[in-house]
């Protein structure tokens, strides 16, 4: 990442372009700097620009940085929240894929009456405020006994993720064209062989991208999880919120924030590599 950035800077960019890149990098990375500093601070009181006391100076009092000591201990529930977040994200992604793959195929390839109305309808969940959806769902789920359960949260997470996934996969299917499948049939492949040997492998990069995206969205949903989890199911976003709700960013909240960003960063790195290397070089040839 850093290396690429340097290369970008040193190659033929105008001073303005370099400046622009630096500003963007500042915007993206800037907010992390106080977090990192904070998490290693012992005491950091206003209005000091840097912590008054660093953890390193207090080695004899604390084995690890205070914040990290807390974050990594069971009391913080960070581990529990991480497991919950990943579990819910995985299930949501799988269900979302199962629903959206066939839907996207139809949307990309077929014409039917009311198609554009249907497409508009699909994006509605993105337009209606999450809070409204959350409250409405909570009412229903309490009746159904789904409030505070994994099933309830997973169902709720499907609402904002399906519109994205359908859109991404529709684009992927549109890019696939019928030629490949028809060619396979002419060469003698039956339906199952076409699906297994041609369609799925060719959709894979798009499907992986869509799945990663869905997973990331799911792991970042706060409001719906907060409403429907009823405090019984803790995920990383809700845990973080409970730490910073008081309006202060103490060392442990800073540590948790950094932990919360980890799944996203790891996934982005994986997807970056995967999509680059597995997607047969230059995309779909021709």
């Amino acid at each position: 990442m850093a290396k690429k950035f340097n290369i970008a800077l040193s190659s033929r960019l105008s001073p303005f372009q370099k400046f622009y890149l630096l500003v963007i990098a500042g915007f993206i990375l800037g907010p992390f700097i106080p977090l990192v500093i904070q998490s290693f601070a012992f005491r950091w009181a206003w209005p000091d620009l840097l912590p008054g006391t660093w953890w390193l100076e207090q080695r004899e009092k604390a084995m690890a940085p205070l914040a990290w000591d807390y974050v990594l201990s069971p009391y913080s529930r960070v581990w529990e929240a991480t497991v919950n977040t990943v579990f819910i994200g995985t299930i949501v992604t799988a269900i979302c894929l199962a629903i959206c793959l066939p839907a996207a195929r139809v949307l990309a390839r077929e014409k039917f009456r009311g198609k554009s109305a249907f497409e508009f309808f699909l994006s509605l969940p993105l337009i209606v405020p999450e809070a409204a959806i959350g409250i409405a769902l909570l009412m229903m789920f309490i009746r159904l006994g789904l409030a505070g359960s994994y099933v309830g949260i997973i169902l709720a997470h499907l609402i904002p993720t399906i519109p994205y996934m359908v859109r991404m996969l529709t684009a992927v299917y549109q890019g696939l064209g019928r030629d490949f499948e028809e060619q396979a049939m002419i060469l003698g492949a039956n339906r199952w062989q076409v699906l297994r040997l041609v369609t799925l492998p060719m959709l894979l990069p798009g499907v992986v991208a869509g799945a990663l995206f869905t997973f990331l969205v799911s792991t970042n949903i706060f409001l719906l999880t907060f409403f429907l989890g009823q405090g019984q199911i803790v995920t990383l976003p809700t845990l973080l919120f409970s730490k910073i709700a008081g309006g202060t960013l103490d060392a442990s909240a800073a540590g948790i924030t950094l932990i919360v960003t980890l799944p996203g960063i790891i996934l982005l790195i994986i997807s970056e590599r995967f999509i680059k290397e597995e997607a047969f070089g230059k995309g779909f040839g021709n």
Binding site: E182, L187, V198
Partner: protein, 345 residues
Amino acid sequence: MTKVQLNAVRKQFGAFVAIENIDLDIESGELVALLGPSGCGKTTTLRMIAGLERPSAGAILFDGKDVSEQPVQDRNVGMVFQRYALFPHMTVEKNVTFGLSVRGTPREEIGARLEEILDVVQLTQFRHRFPAQLSGGQMQRVAIARTLITKPSVLMMDEPLANLDTKLRGEMRRFIRDLQQRFGITTIFVTHDQVEAMELADRVAVIFNGHLAQYDAPAKLYQQPASLDVADFMGASNIVPGRMKSDDLVETAIGEIRVAPRAGFETGKDVQVMLRGEAVDLLTDPPAQGGVAGRVVARDFFGASVNYSVDCGTHQITVSEQARRLVDVGTSVRLNIDPERVWLL
């Protein structure tokens, strides 16, 4: 080897008629070109023969047997798509053997046939590459190899040369012609380039707007088109309206032209006279009698050949010659036309 027949085949997409009652007989081992402007229904015709599209009416026969109900997989046809449709996630080798492996051909046989076909299309050294790493011509040869290896009884190619540059086109034309003759496969290919159709095909089917306009050998199509549209599409530039003065003389705006008598063209009939540029002699020597008088107004020099535009009053006639001599612009000339080479429409 398979004889292909289309009997009154029609194809409708909703209310839109893409193909209107086409009858087409393709002899076993013949190489036929479907020629026509964009959107006339060439691809649709191929797709129906392949079984990717069902005719709305009519029948498609292979060796006299109706295959209209037969699914694609069982027709044993081959088709090279306009954009090749190589599987991008498979190497050249995997692409080529796809047809055999899905049919469950034994491993050793696949191996042997792979070597054979890679040799034919000269792709042995590229066998481990992915399609994205090949040039246009190489991709096309992979597409052809992938189809030929399945030994199809009918080979179809949809504008196989459209994506190639001029030089490669020439090479690939010869290559396809050789292959077709070596394997003797009944072959149907689509093109909208009349030169390509004439160079490659035994017979050419010209399609306009879903109608079969003419189905003939290239020479006949070129010299004796059945209609003005066909003449126009085959690049005829000199078409002059006229009236039959007697059964071997046409009165036209540029003068009287002698023709060979032909049934159906009686005295008094309004006709169109088509003159092929290379069938017209340009006479510069003084008092030549007969023929059409004119003046050279433009000269296009192509090296081996040269085209003159001759102004004959109301019309300009294009004459092409071997560049053995050059006539200057402005020269007064007479055009002499062999009656046998004049075509009436």
